[in-house]
């Protein structure tokens, strides 16, 4: 699908490729901070460098004066890199202040990005963080002591599995293992992947494939007979006893009750602990009455026969 780039994105891209004055393509020699993100293998990579005006008394008060990038990537990756440098130079941030720049600041500056391209802005933010960590190391600033979360790169490189949340295969794999996630709903609850359009659940290379691979699930269908896992509760009624019990309760309690109102009930089938019934006579066809009666029948059977019983009402 043709990408829907904003005018701003297109303009930044065109300015950059034509090397218009004021654009930021390049690499600073002896940079105070250098950060990289991405790789040629995953289709985009960004090398980000900046220079500071040093504050000799307190390195945390250094001011970023110049920022440059080298980007291997698509239109929006280049525009995002450009946007990152512009934002930083304009604000005259200290590196620690610059840590507050997030990918959504970049998206806002670009006046929006197609959702398949959000990862370009994430890449910018990640490279910036990496460069600042590099600066801190060089200048002897202990970021952790300043309360900064020196996180590991949270967006790994690799094939994107969940488009909606831009989640890559390595990241999902790591989380699946770490958190012992066994099902798609567990993945979604834990890391959001697969929670929006859900198309990645069962597509080739999707979430189910990752789960099957990690947990060595047997997907051939051979030799599987554990469906309908009957929990091993002791003291269960046999099907015969359960059927007898249901029939008896029907005769003794339920039918007389319904007959008072001119109605009746027919058992269609009993499967495991599900009793399928059809209401006949006065009560049939009235939706409200049907629900009330279904509950009445179900509660009576639960009480008198087996508390696991469920009643399903079958239409006329």
């Amino acid at each position: 699908m043709a990408w829907e780039y904003s005018e701003k994105t297109k303009q930044l891209f065109m300015d950059a490729v034509h090397g218009k004055p004021g654009t930021h393509m390049g690499e600073i020699e002896d940079a105070d901070g250098l950060g990289e993100h991405g790789s040629i293998a995953c289709g985009d990579a960004l090398k980000f460098t900046f220079k500071v005006k040093r504050n000799d008394e307190d390195p945390t008060k250094d001011i970023i004066t110049e920022a440059r990038y080298l980007t291997f990537g698509c239109t929006s990756a280049i525009a995002a890199s450009e946007a990152l440098c512009i934002i930083i130079e304009q604000k005259k941030y200290t590196p620690i202040e610059a840590l507050a720049i997030t990918n959504s600041d970049i998206v806002d500056y670009l006046e929006g990005l197609p959702k398949q391209k959000i990862h370009c802005s994430v890449m910018g933010a990640e490279a910036l963080d990496a460069a600042i960590f590099d600066w801190a190391k060089k200048r002897g600033v202990d970021l952790t002591a300043l309360g900064v979360d020196v996180h590991e790169d949270e967006v790994d490189d690799g094939r994107i599995v969940c488009d909606c949340f831009s989640m890559t295969e390595p990241y999902i794999r790591r989380k699946v293992k770490e958190l012992e996630l066994k099902t798609i709903p567990e993945i979604t609850d834990a890391i959001k992947a697969g929670g929006a359009c859900m198309a990645c659940h069962h597509k080739p290379g999707g979430l189910q494939d990752i789960l099957d691979d990690i947990w060595h699930n047997d997907v051939s269908g051979h030799g599987v007979d554990d469906a309908g896992d009957v929990s091993g509760e002791p003291e269960q009624l046999s099907p015969y006893q359960l059927g007898k019990g249901v029939e008896r309760s029907m005769e003794e309690y339920i039918r007389p009750m319904l007959q008072q109102d001119g109605g009746g009930i027919e058992i269609i089938d009993i499967k495991d602990t599900i009793v399928y019934v059809r209401l006949v006579g006065a009560c049939a066809g009235c939706a409200g009455a049907e629900i009330t009666l279904k509950n009445l029948v179900e509660n009576t059977l639960k009480e008198r026969v087996d508390e696991r019983i469920r009643v399903i009402s079958v239409g006329a």
Partner: protein, 404 residues
């Protein structure tokens, strides 16, 4: 050339002129691949996403991502069944009916070869599904229920809402698929309301005045179903192949048209023509039966069995008058098998071979039906005169006519 009276709309329909118009640009200058990056690709890409939105709206305002465009309803049915099987390896049982379209029946038989077990639930003489038998068929390892919404031969409508509810109340993990090819555009289908328990729904374009070669599968979010066609990112990785843009916009336009008009109004109009035809033929011809008479039926379908004669002869003579219809007779099927639907309904052989299906459309006129009413009794009479089972003198069957 004589005027055509087209009464075979359950087989295919004419392409609505409005539908043809929206296709044209994509057959000529708008040929760009919607997956391409350049500006020119934007229009076709938008056309596909707008079409997806339209179809989603017609299904009750669902998420457009739940709509997958396919090449036909047959493909949609194949994907629903094979895709469910491969996504649910721990379950191996499928429930369907004895009267499905071959794109369900044959796929289920193929599934049997691959280790699945299939229960074919039967119907009674009126074509009504045996719900007790259906309930009996539900098992702890049932993975899929695939039951058509309306039958292509008889028009009999199955209570999908009820069957899907029974299925889901029994076990939420059982997937429910319905082939709604004949019902789409004719009956109310709302995936957020009456069909909220249906996970997958198939239909095609050419039954509702779009051209052949395009279909769709509604796949509810989170349904465990793998692709049938691999090899591309299209349809969010669930159906590979460059989008068939002109057919996709045609399908969407046809859906919009089916929904835009007052569906109730159109339903009433078609039903009234169909019922007039039904009554007129029953009045004028002895020994005929309407298959599925007592059941809820599609408004446009009349399947009528003329006893003791053969359907192909009827069709041939009808065609002399420019009338196009079809038959459940063995001679008219490619395989020389009599209709499996009528067999399942236990329609006697003496009637099955003389069955004729008339299927109307919104373009069918009262005059066309008048012509049919005029000529049909004579056609039946002419064939019965030749029939070894018919006694012309008493205008009824001969003594030996019950032989099966």
């Amino acid at each position: 050339m004589k005027k055509i009276i087209y009464l075979d709309n359950n087989a295919t329909t004419l392409v609505a002129p409005e539908v043809f118009e929206v296709m044209k640009p994509f057959l000529t200058d708008q040929y760009f691949n919607p997956g391409a990056m350049y500006d020119q690709a934007r229009n076709p890409a938008h056309a596909v996403s707008d079409a997806r939105k339209s179809v989603a709206d017609c299904l009750g305002g669902v998420d457009p991502n739940e709509v997958i465009f396919t090449g036909s309803a047959s493909e949609s049915n194949n994907m629903a069944i094979f895709g469910s099987i491969s996504a649910n390896p721990k379950r191996r049982h499928i429930i369907t009916t004895t009267v499905e379209h071959p794109s369900v029946t044959e796929v289920c038989k193929e599934a049997e070869r691959c280790g699945c077990e299939v229960t074919f639930v039967g119907v009674d003489k009126q074509g009504k599904l045996n719900v007790t038998e259906f309930i009996k068929a539900l098992r702890p390892d049932t993975l899929l229920v695939s039951i058509m919404h309306a039958n292509n031969e008889t028009g009999v409508i199955f209570p999908i809402e009820e069957l899907a509810r029974l299925t889901k109340e029994t076990d939420r993990c059982i997937l429910f698929h319905t082939d709604a090819t004949q019902a789409m555009g004719k009956l109310e289908i709302d995936m957020t309301d009456n069909f909220s328990n249906v996970d997958m729904l198939s239909f095609s374009g050419h039954k509702l005045h779009a051209p052949k070669g395009v279909g769709a599968l509604y796949l509810r979010k989170g349904t465990a179903c793998r692709p049938l066609i691999y090899g591309g990112h299209q349809e969010r990785g669930r159906r590979a192949g460059t989008e068939n843009v002109c057919h996709i916009v045609a399908l969407a336009k046809a859906c919009e048209m089916a929904m835009a008009g007052d569906m109730q109004q159109e339903y009433k109009q078609i039903v009234s023509i169909r019922d007039r035809l039904q009554v007129a033929l029953m009045d004028r011809i002895p020994y005929i039966q309407v298959n599925g008479l007592d059941q809820p039926r599609l408004p446009n379908t009349l399947n009528i069995a003329c006893q003791f004669i053969e359907g192909e002869g009827i069709l041939y003579q009808l065609n002399e008058y420019g009338i196009c219809a079809s038959s459940g007779s063995a001679c008219t099927s490619g395989s020389l098998d009599a209709s499996h639907v009528l067999s399942a309904m236990d329609v006697p052989f003496t009637a099955m071979h003389g069955s004729v299906r008339f299927s109307l459309s919104r373009y069918t006129t009262e005059e066309e039906i008048d012509t049919l009413i005029d000529v049909f009794p004579g056609i039946v009479k002419s064939l019965r005169r030749l029939s070894p089972y018919w006694d012309v003198a008493k205008d009824g069957p001969r003594e030996n006519a019950d032989i099966k």
